[in-house]
C-alpha cells in the first residue's frame, strides 16, 4: 500500500470539502439544482438500467416506457410577449367547464381537469413528475388557444424534429405555464386507446390517441413551471427532437415508418397548464390545442437484410424461421458509431428492438449453454452455436451479447455485454438487446461453430434462468448504423 499516495489524496480532498462549505452547505444554492435534477430523474427513471412504469388507466392498462435517460430533447418555448403576469387564470376558467367526451360532436376550447391531493401535485411542490389520465372538459365555446404551426421533419436515420407555435386566439390575455408545456404525437387521435399504451419522454408523448377512455385524456405534468402572459394574438413557439428509439416504445407501432412513407399524418397536440391565481392546490387545468402536422423528409432506404422479416411475439416458437431483432437505433445511439475513447474496451448499449422472424429455417442453433460460478462474486456464462443454415453467415463476433432473464426481480445489471435481471421484454413484440461498440466480422461456413463467454456479477437466480444470446449480423451496408439486425438464440437452464 502506498501511504504516500493515500496521504496525498487525503490532503487534496480537504480542498473539495472547502468547496462545499463555500457554497453555504445545505441551502438553496446546493439543494435547488439537485432537487430539479432529482425531479427530472424521477421522470427519466430508467436511465442506464431497464425501467418500466406501468400506468393504470381507466378502461385498460397502458405502459410508458422510458429507456436510457433522455431520448429526445425539447427546446424552451419562445414567447413573443413580455412576462407580465396578468391574464385569465385557471380560477377564471374552471367554474365554466363542462364534461367533454370523445363523440360529443362539440367544438370550442378543449381542456383537461385533474384533481389530486396537494401532496401529489407536481406544481405544489411534490417532487416528482407524472403522466395521468384526467377528465376531459370543455373550457369555452370558442377556442382560446390554437396551434398555428405544426411541422415534422423526418431525418434519414429516423430522427424526428417537431416544431410548433401556439397562439392566443381569444380577445383576452391568458396566463400560461410555458415551462411545462408538453407535446404529443398521435397517429389515430379520434379513438380510445385499446391497450396499446404510450411512450413518454421529457414533455413528449407518442400514442395512438390521448383518449384513455371516452371521458378521460392522458396529460403530462413535467418540467419546471414558468408562467407568462399570452396576450391576444401573441404566440408561444418551440421545437423538439425525438430520436428513433422513442418510436420503438409502446403505442408507436408503424408511426415512424408511416410518417416517412407518407401514409400517416399525425396530430400534434399541445397541452399547456393554466396556473391558478394563487398557489397550486388540488386541481390543475390544462388547455389542449391540436393540428395535423405537415411532414417533410423521409428515412433512408433499408438494406435487403431487413426485407421479408415477419413479426414475432414473446414466447412464440417456429421451426421454419430464425428468431431475430431489428434495432432501429439511429447512428447517434449506435455504439459502433460512437467516438472511440481509446481504452480498447468495448462499450455496450441496450437498445429497444423489434422482435422478428427471418423466414426460411434456423440459421444458428445453440448446442451448449452453461453458467459456472467462478468465485464469490463472479459467474461465467459460456455458449456455443452451430451454423445450421446451409450457407455462409456473416456475423460480428465482437458484438455477441447475453441477456439473462430473471423475471420480475426489479433490477437489471448491465455490464460488458451481459444483461442480468428484469425481464427484457417491454411488451409482446419489443425487447431490449445488446449492441457493442466493437466490430469483428466473421464469415461462418455451414456446420462451423461460433462460441463465446461472458463474465457477470454472481446472481444465484441465474442458475435456472432463461435468456438469449444475440449475434449481430454483418450486412453489405454495415457502414449504415441506423438499424442493426441481431440473431437471437434463446436458451433455458430451467429443469
Amino acid at each position: 500500500m502506498s501511504n504516500e499516495l493515500m496521504e496525498s489524496l487525503a490532503r487534496q480532498a480537504e480542498t473539495g470539502g472547502a468547496l462545499y462549505d463555500g457554497r453555504g452547505g445545505v441551502d438553496d444554492a446546493v439543494v435547488a439544482p439537485a432537487r430539479r435534477r432529482v425531479r427530472r430523474a424521477r421522470t427519466m427513471r430508467a436511465a442506464g438500467t431497464l425501467g418500466v412504469t406501468a400506468l393504470v388507466l381507466a378502461g385498460g392498462v397502458a405502459a410508458a416506457l422510458e429507456w436510457q435517460g433522455q431520448r429526445g430533447e425539447i427546446a424552451p418555448a419562445i414567447t413573443t410577449v413580455p412576462d407580465t403576469l396578468d391574464g385569465i387564470t385557471a380560477d377564471d376558467l374552471r367554474a365554466g367547464t363542462t364534461m367533454r367526451t370523445l363523440d360529443d360532436g362539440r367544438t370550442g376550447q378543449a381542456g383537461i381537469l385533474c384533481t389530486m391531493a396537494v401532496k401529489d401535485n407536481p406544481y405544489a411542490g411534490a417532487d416528482f413528475s407524472r403522466a395521468d389520465s384526467c377528465p376531459a372538459v370543455w373550457v369555452a365555446d370558442e377556442p382560446l388557444v390554437e396551434v398555428t404551426r405544426a411541422e415534422v421533419v423526418v431525418d434519414g436515420d429516423g430522427t424526428v424534429h417537431v416544431s410548433w407555435e401556439l397562439a392566443n386566439a381569444s380577445g383576452d390575455p391568458i396566463l400560461v405555464d410555458e415551462g411545462t408545456l408538453s407535446i404529443a404525437l398521435a397517429s389515430d387521435p379520434d379513438r380510445v386507446m385499446s391497450g396499446e399504451g404510450y411512450t413518454a419522454g421529457d414533455r413528449q408523448l407518442i400514442a395512438p390517441s390521448l383518449w384513455s377512455d371516452a371521458k378521460n385524456r392522458v396529460v403530462q405534468m413535467e418540467g419546471d413551471t414558468s408562467s407568462a402572459t399570452l396576450a391576444p394574438g401573441d404566440t408561444l413557439a418551440g421545437d423538439a427532437t425525438l430520436d428513433p428509439q422513442m418510436f420503438t416504445g409502446l403505442g408507436t407501432d408503424g408511426l415512424l415508418e408511416g410518417m416517412s412513407g407518407g401514409s400517416i399524418e399525425p396530430t400534434l397536440t399541445l397541452q399547456v397548464r393554466i396556473p391558478p391565481a394563487g398557489d397550486a392546490g388540488t386541481r390543475e387545468l390544462f388547455l389542449e390545442a391540436s393540428a395535423v402536422a405537415s411532414i417533410t423528409g423521409s428515412m433512408d432506404p433499408v438494406s435487403a437484410a431487413f426485407e421479408g422479416l415477419e413479426p414475432r411475439v414473446d414466447g412464440e416458437t417456429r421451426a421454419d424461421a430464425q428468431e431475430a431483432l431489428v434495432c432501429h437505433v439511429g447512428e447517434a445511439d449506435n455504439p459502433r458509431f460512437q467516438p472511440d475513447d481509446g481504452d480498447g474496451i468495448a462499450s455496450w448499449s441496450t437498445p429497444t428492438c423489434e422482435a422478428v422472424w427471418i423466414p426460411g429455417g434456423k440459421l444458428l442453433e445453440l448446442t451448449d449453454v452453461g453458467i459456472t460460478q467462478q468465485d464469490k462474486f463472479t459467474s461465467v456464462i459460456q455458449w456455443k452455436a452451430i451454423n445450421v443454415s446451409g450457407r455462409t453467415l456473416d456475423l460480428d463476433q465482437a458484438s455477441m451479447g447475453v441477456s439473462i432473464d430473471l423475471g420480475d426481480v426489479g433490477y437489471v445489471m448491465n455490464s460488458d455485454g451481459v444483461s442480468v435481471g428484469w425481464t427484457p421484454w417491454n411488451g409482446d413484440s419489443t425487447r431490449h438487446a445488446l449492441l457493442s461498440s466493437e466490430s469483428d466480422p466473421l464469415s461462418l461456413d455451414p456446420g462451423n461453430p461460433i462460441a463465446g463467454e461472458k463474465t457477470f456479477e454472481r446472481d444465484d437466480k441465474a442458475l435456472d434462468a432463461h435468456g438469449a444470446v444475440f449475434v449481430r449480423v454483418v450486412r453489405e451496408d454495415d457502414e449504415d448504423g441506423t438499424r442493426e439486425l441481431l440473431l437471437e438464440l434463446p436458451w433455458s437452464l430451467a429443469g
Binding site: M1, S2, E4, L5, M6, E7, S8, L9, A10, R11, Q12, A13, E14, T15, G16, G17, A18, L19, Y20, D21, R23, G25, V26, V30, V31, P33, A34, R35, R37, V38, R39, R40, A41, R42, M44, R45, A46, A47, T49, G51, K119, G125, A126, D127, F128, P339, D341, G342, D343, I345, K376, F377, T378, G410, M413, S415, D416, T455, F456, E457
Partner: protein, 172 residues
C-alpha cells in the same frame, strides 16, 4: 417537504463535504465538481425505489457519483489552480494522466482502501475490467510519481472489501 427531498437534505448535510471533496478530486474543476455531485444526487435518489434509510441513501449517492464519473466521455476542463502546498506536487496533475475509468478505480483503491472486488461492486463494472484499470492506472502513476512508491501488484490485489467510514482526512 416530501421524503425524497428530506433524504436529499440529509445526504447533503451528512455527506456534502465528502461528495464535493471526492468530485473535485476526480474532476479537478469546480464547475465539473458541482455538476457531478448534482448528477450523483439525481441518480442516487431520483431513480428507482427510494432508499429506505439515510445510510442507504448516502451509499446510493456515493456509488452514483463514481459511476457517473466513470461513464463520462469527452474532453475535461483544465485543472483549477492548485490548492495544495507549493512544496508538494499536485496529485491531481498526476491523476489527470489517467483515463476516467482508471482514475476512479485508483481513487477508490487508494483514497478508500477498497479491494478490486469492492470497487467493481461500487462501479457496477466487471471485475476483470477494474483489475485492468487498477493495473494500468497504478503503473502510470508509479512512472510519473516515483516518490509515491506505488506497488502495482498491491494496487490490484490489496485493499478491503468494505469502506468502514469516510472522513475528510482519509482515515477510517
Amino acid at each position: 417537504m416530501n421524503a425524497r427531498v428530506r433524504m436529499l437534505h440529509a445526504v447533503l448535510r451528512e455527506r456534502g463535504q465528502d461528495l464535493y471533496a471526492r468530485a473535485l478530486l476526480l474532476t479537478g474543476d469546480d464547475a465539473a465538481t458541482t455538476s457531478l455531485v448534482e448528477r450523483a444526487l439525481a441518480d442516487g435518489l431520483g431513480r428507482g425505489h427510494r432508499p429506505e434509510t439515510a445510510e442507504d441513501a448516502e451509499g446510493a449517492v456515493w456509488d452514483a457519483l463514481h459511476r457517473a464519473f466513470r461513464r463520462d466521455k469527452g474532453d475535461e476542463p483544465a485543472l483549477a489552480a492548485r490548492a495544495t502546498a507549493m512544496d508538494e506536487p499536485d496529485i491531481r496533475e498526476a491523476l489527470r494522466l489517467l483515463p476516467r475509468r482508471e482514475r476512479v478505480a485508483v481513487v477508490l483503491r487508494f483514497a478508500d482502501g477498497l479491494a478490486a472486488t469492492a470497487i467493481a461492486r461500487t462501479l457496477d463494472a466487471p471485475l476483470k475490467a477494474v483489475r485492468a484499470d487498477l493495473a494500468s492506472g497504478a503503473r502510470t502513476l508509479a512512472d510519473e510519481r516515483p516518490d509515491l512508491r506505488i506497488d502495482v501488484e498491491d494496487a490490484v490485489e490489496g485493499g478491503v472489501e468494505e469502506a468502514f467510514s469516510m472522513t475528510l482526512d482519509g482515515g477510517r
